[in-house]
Symmetry: C2
Subunit: 406 residues, 2 copies
């Protein structure tokens, strides 16, 4: 059996994702589609709309065969670390191909760029430093450095979010000497950052989340199974998860921590602890806080990741431990189809990382695993009192979803 | 003008307290009654039912002339530290007398005991150690050591809570070479620990809190002014403050802190951090958690104080700093009557500590003051979102209450 790997967040799973699953299977001629998916919190520093378990179910219902979780220590990170984790897991799962959507659409551009950047890495790093010194945020500094270095040679615009991620997948496949073949397809119809949903059946996840926040209709851009699962989630839990649901805990943190304690939080750098306290005391909501905290130097994404680490109390020290202990990686299996199960049965022994089927088992692993457990516990802070314990118990004890052929 | 000092919590102010105010003024022949009162959290490790400002108003309405706050660093402590702070403040305020209610009622017993204990301190400490080794909690160990050492000589039972406090006031007046004269009066009608309210007009604060928790009638045991202020508080804020209101934040702490981090919390000793996590994950409410956490070694009061420190993130290091920096003490003025104002105008210059009139000014003081600010911020965690900021702003900016003669 041949497997194709996807790197996803499915927040929520929509028609664009469905298109990608079909295209990936087609392009790679694979029998099995494996998705490595962010867990409770996402790369752009947000709580997932619905739990990772339900997002895994959305994926299985739409044709994905295996869903595994990208650990928090990789997922709530800048693109290079995010890509590193995703490539490690998909390689361990013996995927033949990594397939990603991009604004570019031509894999050769990515391969050429990787070759070029390897050759010119020293110059590139120097340029980034120079732009950082000018006060640019890292994503812009690296984009400017890239443009500066690269303009004449190719036209792969790294300002586009999926091009950046794609470039880092290709770069990591090379750096990790992974046997996976990278493939890409052009993203259709919706841009990643589009905030407004059009009339068509494809819309960006950003615009869908915005519509959900304002309680607008989204069913026409979702597979029927996603729409049903979203409705059921809202009925069962009474809410989907937005940042505002966690605001009181973030505020509690800055009310009770000294600047020295806050400075230990991952990504809390260059005096951000003082700005966090100052702006936090003035703010009246999460979005107000984020607006007050924002400066030219830091992107919204960067600050939201800081908020995730603040919420989960993830320290610089823990992140450093995670980065220096890659041997503690694991494959956390969230769900599988019948085809997925056959694949696992057939290839499990060949996997280069252990498969963890229940959240509770993570206690046998290292800091990377404890961050996942903590993130899950924090994710359910939306539930009061005994309901929180109940939600945690369910998440910690649940075995992977299994979707039978219908 | 002659002043009598009282050490109080007024949680809430009731008819027994009213009796004490009148008796204290009478016994001491004082013109002015000064109460030093615990702030947001109490000696027995509980949030105060209503804010310190409203409790100060209850006291002023019932005849107290000046209310000052006993800082958190003294208040949420065992009897010796609690007494140390109270005696320091009342001495600084130039009180001629310290007047306390006790189960004993005869001040000579306290003076005799203090003389005896000074002479036999070494033996007493040895006995305490011996009882602690047997696994007794500190209050019981000290009570047993006391009985063992003292049985034949006097009959002042230190098992009674107000006798213990009274003994420590007398002991501290002596140790601090305070010119205050200690006086005591027999507590009437209700025992401190009585959980059930009788038919009379005097009931213990414990029984009143219990009745309030179960929404029972309490007006017959309260001065009319207290009853009115309690009603108004419930109308304005929608609640009075019980431990259950803070449960989610305590739980959040143990979900996101490592055992090593929890071990830094004040009073988190001998592996309690592991028990906190273990029992916290099983508990379904604050009271359930407390029950699960309880062992022979630790009293409920001791564990509740640990919970207060956990809520406010007060560390062992901070408490040690407070204890070694008594020169950073201050008098935080909460309220005054016209008589109180005259007294302050007349004697303020003679006070041995600075008077702080607004919570916000505390930022100019040391760790003791920052713990007070933090405790106030945590106290209002019962308010969601923007309402919390509003409540904090009011507390931080408010000037002391001033009650004009009617």
């Amino acid at each position: 059996m041949k497997a194709v790997g996807l790197v996803v967040e499915y927040n929520p799973f929509h028609n664009g994702h469905l298109h990608h699953v079909i295209k990936a299977k087609e392009d790679s001629e694979a029998d099995v589609v494996i998705a490595v998916m962010s867990g409770s919190f996402l790369q752009r520093g947000e709580p997932a709309l619905v739990s990772k378990r339900v997002r895994a179910e959305m994926a299985l219902q739409a044709g994905v065969d295996i869903v595994v979780e990208l650990p928090y220590g990789y997922a709530v990170q800048t693109a290079p670390y995010f890509a590193e984790g995703a490539v490690r897991l998909l390689t361990a799962l013996q995927c033949a191909t990594l397939h990603f959507g991009s604004e570019e659409g031509d894999i050769d551009r990515f391969l050429q760029l990787n070759a070029f950047m390897k050759k010119n890495d020293h110059d590139y790093q120097q340029q980034i430093k120079a732009f950082l010194k000018k006060g640019y945020a890292y994503p812009r500094a690296s984009a400017e450095a890239f443009a500066f270095l690269h303009e004449a040679r190719t036209q792969l615009p790294l300002s586009e979010p999926n091009n950046i991620l794609g470039y880092h997948y290709v770069q990591q496949i090379d750096a990790q000497a992974s046997p996976m073949e990278p493939l890409t397809t052009l993203r259709i119809a919706a841009n990643y950052h589009d905030e407004d949903m059009g009339e068509g059946t494809i819309a960006s996840a950003t615009s869908i989340r915005k519509a959900l926040l304002h309680k607008k209709e989204v069913d026409h851009v979702l597979p029927a199974s996603t729409a049903r699962l979203l409705d059921y989630y809202k009925q069962t839990h009474g809410h989907v998860h937005f940042w505002e649901n966690y605001y009181s805990y973030l505020k509690y943190q800055i009310l009770t921590r000294t600047p020295a304690e806050l400075e230990q939080i991952a990504e809390c750098e260059e005096g951000l602890e003082y700005r966090l306290i100052e702006t936090g005391l003035q703010a009246t909501s999460f979005s107000d806080w984020l607006t007050r905290l924002k400066t030219k130097r830091y992107t919204k994404t960067r600050l939201q990741r800081l908020f995730v680490h603040l919420l989960t109390n993830t320290t610089k020290e823990e992140m450093a431990t995670v980065r220096s202990n890659r041997e503690n990686d694991y494959i956390r299996l969230l769900g599988m189809s019948e085809t997925g199960k056959s694949y696992l049965n057939q290839y499990k022994k060949a996997f280069s990382l252990p498969v963890v089927t229940r959240e509770a088992e993570l206690r046998h692993y290292g800091v990377l695993a404890s961050l996942d457990q903590r993130a899950t516990a924090c994710y359910w802070l939306t539930k009061p009192g005994a309901l929180h314990s109940e939600a945690m118990k369910q998440e910690f004890q649940a075995t992977p979803l299994f979707l039978k052929n219908s």
